[in-house]
């Protein structure tokens, strides 16, 4: 909302200042595009490539690998087959304690973890990127050990995915490969250059096009239109992070997810344990905003600080680990709306497919 207002302010100011100074007007209009560049970038990527480029994925017997820039990445996948208990037969306390101990032990060895849910089936992919082959091997090994320890604690059985299965998950059938059209890319660039000569603020668009082209190594995918009603949604915000939900609330959400999970066509969440500084920033931000709020006597700031205090209390009192998260949902709007009520706000975002990289 804030961004939209700033964009409009720059845009209107750009038009009104035109009579006084053309240069100032053009700068303001250019700035208005800069403000919304993040929002329009996915469309530019789509315009340049006809979809979204994802890293090329090669798979062997049990693992897949790709390159993130020049850094090799290795993926190892598991399917969760069965757990001794679930939210269907546990009470909220037991559900919470088991799940928390899983999240506190299984994801402690660095790397990234991609949770994929396909129509009620659950897969977890371990991902590690390192320059040295030996380090990749060591890190993957320790990730695997920690992860399986967590599984044991949770009482779940699993199987290791074959490379081909893993590839099918990271490049699901909802995605179809698209051939890039170099002629179209060239024509788009030339026309933008020509138009930005006449209207300089479009230089920002040109820069975004070049950025999109440079990030376009790999295979381009788009969501198949045959899957009617499916849309690509990206996780924008966890609206529950700055609250202090009771265990009962968390349990109830889990029960709702359990009841709808078989209807979710595809959901992927990439978790990365947050570095200590980021996790600790919850506290410092809460204090800072509180101090500012009291100094300025601003209720809104005091309220904001309270929200951060909630998150901070969860970290200290309930020992909840902090993660950095990316989310992708390929689903109809109804599922997205349900996830919203679960505290996860998704918006249409083609770039969210990058969660699978």
């Amino acid at each position: 909302m804030g961004k939209a207002i700033i964009f409009l302010m720059f845009l209107i100011a750009g038009f009104f200042t035109r009579a006084y100074s053309i240069e100032l007007s053009l700068i303001l209009l250019g700035l208005s595009i800069v403000v919304i560049s993040r929002e329009i970038y996915p469309y530019i990527v789509h315009m340049m490539h006809g979809g979204l480029p994802l890293n090329h994925l090669e798979c062997l017997r049990k693992i897949c690998f790709s390159y993130s820039g020049n850094k090799p990445c290795v993926y190892l996948g598991f399917q969760v087959l069965d757990c001794r208990h679930g939210c269907y037969d546990l009470n909220e306390k037991d559900f919470w304690l088991s799940s928390l101990s899983f999240f506190s032990t299984a994801f402690t060895a660095g790397g990234e973890y991609i949770f994929i849910t396909v129509k009620g089936e659950m897969f977890i992919v371990l991902k590690v990127c390192e320059y040295e082959g030996k380090r990749i091997k060591d890190e993957l090994k320790s990730m695997r050990e920690a992860f399986l320890r967590g599984f044991e604690l949770l009482g779940c059985s699993y199987r290791v995915l074959a490379g081909s299965e893993l590839k099918g998950l990271l490049r699901p059938p909802e995605l179809i490969e698209v051939k890039t059209n170099p002629v179209r890319q060239l024509l788009t660039l030339i026309s933008t250059i020509l138009v930005s000569g006449l209207f300089p603020p479009l230089v920002v668009i040109l820069a975004l096009e070049i950025l999109a082209l440079s990030s376009g190594k790999g295979i381009v995918y788009k969501v198949s239109i045959q899957n009617g009603g499916l849309k690509v949604w990206g996780l924008k915000k966890a609206t529950v992070t700055y609250t202090y939900p009771s265990l009962r609330e968390i349990y109830t959400r889990a029960r709702v997810v359990y009841s709808i999970v078989s209807t979710i066509p595809f959901m992927a969440m990439r978790l990365k344990p947050a570095p200590w500084e980021i996790a600790a920033s919850l506290d410092s931000h809460a204090y800072r905003v509180y101090e500012m709020g009291t100094a300025l006597d601003k209720l809104s700031m005091l309220h904001e600080s309270q929200k951060y205090f909630f998150a901070s209390r969860r970290r200290w009192e309930r020992r909840e680990p902090v993660f950095l998260v990316n989310g992708l949902l390929i689903a109809p709007k109804e599922i997205r709306d349900t996830m919203e009520r679960m505290g996860l706000h998704f918006e249409p975002d083609m770039l969210a497919l990058k969660t699978l990289e």
Partner: protein, 334 residues
């Protein structure tokens, strides 16, 4: 940035992964996730089962469904039904009206004379309340077996009213044919005339089950399930069922005991059974079930608030009952 509690409801395997389900076997229905629920004889330690449900909950309909499903898989079925239901009869080409149609109870493959006489006399003592007469009865049965007829017993009819009663009942059951070997190979519905004393009913069923036990034993160990016996009003044989449940798994047949209330059976029967199917019933009935198995409120509600068509399915080795919405075959309905 998220805290674990934000993603646990969505990413914890405990919130996503349902209990693993069989992909084959006897189809019972679907669970609350819409998955087919099967009774797979080969994934259970034994296929002896118990079906419970109050009157009108659909126990017999479910057992007819199981018979039809089992038949498709090449498994023969016997139904032993003290009441005699037309709906069962329709499913069978062969039916035997016990005490009217005879069976040979003195041809006893798989049993030695002594062993059979001992076993039968033990149950006769219980059924007729002839306490203390077990050895006398045993001796008489032994003589009958040796001579191949009931005539040794006939000699004592005028002397002892208890023997007279027993003889009267046995003569109504016994005939030269068919033998147990002939019966065992067929799908048969055993039933009784409407008015029959409880003693002769229980004696007939007891003899039938003993004969089958011996015959199947004589056929040697079987790897696959060949025959299921559905026993209505099974609580009348609670003690005998215990010994059957312990012994007969390896002989290739299984016994499904049907009754109304969980308390009617010895608790050990539930500990031995490979599966238990609980149909709907009253609140106190469900409380009794909850005393036997750990069930959640959801699971209680599943069988409490539906009068028909729902069941809880317990399997040995899996403490999580499945909430089944039964998918009964059309032909199974009465």
């Amino acid at each position: 940035m998220v805290l674990a509690g934000d993603v646990i409801p969505v990413l914890s395997p405990l919130a996503v992964v349902p209990p693993r389900e069989e992909g084959q076997g006897i189809l019972l229905g679907v669970d609350d996730k819409g998955r087919n629920i099967y009774l797979n004889p080969y994934s259970l330690p034994n296929v002896h089962g118990v079906i419970l449900g109050t009157s009108g909950s659909g126990k017999s309909t479910l057992s007819r469904h199981i018979i039809l499903e089992a038949r498709e898989k090449g498994v023969k079925a016997w139904v032993i039904d003290p009441h005699g239901e037309e709906a069962y009869k329709r499913l069978f080409d062969n039916s035997i009206k016990m005490t009217v149609d005879k069976i040979n109870i003195l041809s006893i493959p798989g049993w030695s004379h002594e062993e059979y006489a001992s076993e039968l006399s033990r149950y006769i003592e219980l059924i007729y309340a002839y306490y203390g007469s077990r050895n006398v009865i045993r001796k008489l049965i032994l003589r009958c077996l040796k001579e191949g007829s009931l005539s040794p017993m006939e000699k004592f009819v005028d002397e002892d009213p208890d023997i007279s009663r027993l003889y009267d009942d046995l003569i109504r059951i016994h005939g030269d044919a068919p033998t147990i070997a002939e019966l065992s190979d067929r799908d048969i519905y055993f039933y009784f005339p409407t008015m029959v004393s409880q003693e002769i009913g229980r004696l007939s069923i007891q003899v039938l089950l003993l004969l089958l036990q011996g015959y199947r034993r004589s056929q040697g160990v079987k790897k696959r399930l060949e025959q299921i016996i559905i026993l209505e009003e099974a609580h009348l044989f609670s003690k005998y069922l215990l010994s059957l449940y312990k012994e007969i798994r390896k002989w290739g047949y299984s016994l499904i005991a049907i009754s109304q209330l969980p308390r009617e059976f010895d608790i050990r029967l539930y500990q031995l059974a490979g599966f238990v199917l609980v149909l709907s019933g009253s609140e106190s009935y469900i409380r009794d079930i909850a005393a036997l198995f750990s069930i959640t409120n959801d699971e209680k509600d599943h069988v409490l608030f539906a009068s028909r068509g729902t069941a809880l399915f317990f399997r040995q080795g899996d403490p999580r009952p499945r909430k089944v919405f039964l998918r009964i075959r059309e032909e199974a309905f009465s």
